[in-house]
Amino acid sequence: TLFPMTDVKSSPPLRVLVSDELGQVKVVDVAAQYATAARSATWGTVSAARAITSLASLPGEGTRPDALLVGQADGEVSCLQGLNGEAAAPLQPAASGSGEGVRSVHVVPGSGEPTIVTVSAGGCVRGFARQPDDGAWAEAWRWQAACKEVECSGVDPTGRLLAVGGRGCELRLHALADGGVAFAGRGGKPSRVGLVDRPWNTALAFLPPSPAPAGEEEPAGARLVVGTGHHRVRLYDTAAGRRPQLDVGWGEARITALASEPSGTRCWVANGQGQIAVLELPSGLVVGGIKGAAGSVKALTLHPTLPILASAGLDRTLRLHHTASRKLLAKVFLKSQLTGAAFAAAPPPLPEAPTLPLPASGGPGLPSSAAFAHAVQEPASEPEEARPAAKRPKLIMPSIKKKPRKGTGPSSSASLGKKRVVVRA
């Protein structure tokens, strides 16, 4: 079935930036209508110490072009130009000074310039603001999160809260400005046997803000989906209570990635065994799944406008799927273990080949200019007197090719007694 508005045939060219565990960013260009998908460039040199742990795109504004923020395992955060991967305005200081790796990088849109927020593996949260004079990003504030072994973090849609999850501490939502705990979540209720999982949140994703209640400007609370290392998926609503509003088990491995759809009713989940599924919220029912990933899926990214899901992981392959039909659109093998994926603005299309200038009077061997002129003329300028009166527009029916059934039809009966020969290329 083809979905109107989401027809594959009308898809534009795409560009996906994929980070790996060797400190490289690989640029994958997908042609229009998924004709081809291949790596077009690699930014960075191979270095396992500078493994990239997180990617964030920094949209351009005014004179500042699009940029890509990259957080590395050695603790440094770098800013790369979105078009060619060269170093852009640096972040000062690049490393937090504690020697821990960067866990995530977020871009918080603000009234003027956005703020860059980085979270280290030890829970050190830093905020960067752009300096007006030299364009570099300087550290504006820093505070310590409640969690000391951070594994996931996220910024809520309003840009005021930072959710931090990891080992040893349940979910906490901090106010970005000063680090004060705005919401302290509790874990799931004990199981029937009375067992409680140790706090271990491995992935989280905020849901789009629910519509504000009547008479108020802002929605009551923030809603986010959290995945744990004990294969549970939980939905927290800060307005409804500290316990999760939904707590379901899915799969048998740790949840590694979450991506919520803009509608707010579905959420994509992936785990360490390469399973990807889409859950309906708030019921928590599995609506569908994606097969194909052979290794842990480290990153799930939804395209901002089109219904495309990018998944990348330890099986060294980037896959693009259609979110509604769950069909595979493109698959690219990228040789190294992948850790993050981000959609970027597709490169501008190549300029059209210029038409040859018409020869003035035609030299030897060249066709006469009159013949040339006729060929390059637009078809509309053909003699219109020859055309009959206005015709009805020709209906273009979609061509539906029917597969011949085995054993029936004229072709199969004619081949009785003959063996079909399959020619291998």
């Binding site: 060797l22 191979v46 491995a253 360490g272 390469g274 399973q275 093998f333 040789k335 273990q337």
Partner: protein, 307 residues
């Protein structure tokens, strides 16, 4: 050809006729071909090259995961991966061998042979410790690898290899085990460090698994001992063989020229492995992350292999 005949007896009779006709035609064609080849050879012309039959290996569909021999990115990654220290000869191998819970007699015989195969290996009783704890103990005592052999109802059926300290964990299914006592004319294993031969590990995953096997043995073999351990991958089955070789000059039967040939004598155990999963990090099957698991592959065919 006969699918349209519904009556089983008529169909089977017709099929037999057609098959006989086909066999006779092929025989006649073969005779003609052989007669022509003999005639040509007698006349002195070049013999027609024998047609090579198509096998699954030589019609293998090459996919994009196969590593090219000159791939710089893979080479650069391999200088920095978990096995780099072993290949740079900074960290010699020291293998800890243990078993599943409550092994039976055949396990002890197999482990006795494995202790002779690996040049630097130590056996510890399982004693009911969970695997995660055993990995921790091995790290404390500076082991480089942990090998766990699994047994079910007196049949050895599995092997788990974990590289330490944070290396990948591979789980294999072990089959067709033959101990050296069951191999006729087997030789005695010496204590020379063996050479390691890794055949057909062509894809990216194959490279990882091949390096895992190589990290169980020393990087500088004693060539004087003429001992070789082979991990031969064919159609995703890994065949383990252990031989002693000797180079001899022998007269070739056809050309009657003296040629140096290798003669082999099989030594230690012989078994077959199939990769079930490769997990990143040390053993943690519940909440670990897998690099490869034999569950999700969709776009696959009979002529496409993973290693």
């Amino acid at each position: 050809m006969v699918e349209h005949i519904g009556n089983k007896q008529v169909r089977s009779t017709r099929f037999r006729e057609l098959k006989r006709k086909e066999d006779r035609r092929k025989k006649a064609e073969r005779k003609k071909r052989q007669a022509a080849a003999e005639k040509a050879e007698k006349a002195g012309a070049e013999p027609v090259p024998k047609p090579v039959p198509k096998t699954i290996e030589n019609t293998r569909e090459l996919d994009e995961t196969i590593v090219a021999p000159d791939d710089e990115e893979v080479a650069a990654e391999e200088t920095q991966d978990e096995f780099a220290d072993h290949f740079k000869r900074v960290r010699p191998p020291h293998v800890l061998i243990t078993t599943c819970f409550k092994p039976s007699g055949i396990m002890y015989k197999f482990i006795a042979e494995l202790l002779e195969v690996f040049p630097n290996a130590t056996y510890y009783k399982r004693q009911g410790f969970p695997l995660k704890k055993i990995v921790q103990f091995a790290k404390n005592r500076d082991f480089s690898d942990v090998v766990v052999i699994n047994e079910d109802r007196k049949m050895i059926n599995g092997m788990l290899v974990t590289h330490l300290p944070e290396g990948p964990t591979a789980q294999f299914r072990l089959s067709n085990l033959k101990l050296s006592t069951e191999i006729s004319n087997h030789g005695r294993i010496s204590s020379h460090r063996p050479e390691v031969v890794l055949n057909n590990f062509s894809t990216r995953l194959g490279h990882r698994v091949g390096r895992l096997f190589a990290s169980l043995f020393h990087q500088d073999p004693a060539f004087r001992g003429r001992r070789v351990v082979t991990f031969h991958n064919q159609r995703d089955f890994i065949f383990f063989r252990h031989h002693r070789y000797i180079f001899e000059e022998k007269a070739d039967r056809r050309t009657k020229e003296a040629r140096v040939q290798a003669r082999l004598q099989e030594l230690g155990p012989r078994f077959t492995l199939q990769l079930e999963s490769l997990q990143k990090g040390t053993f943690d099957s519940k909440s670990g992350e897998f690099e490869w698991l034999n569950s999700g592959e969709q776009d696959t065919s009979r002529r496409r292999f993973k290693l």
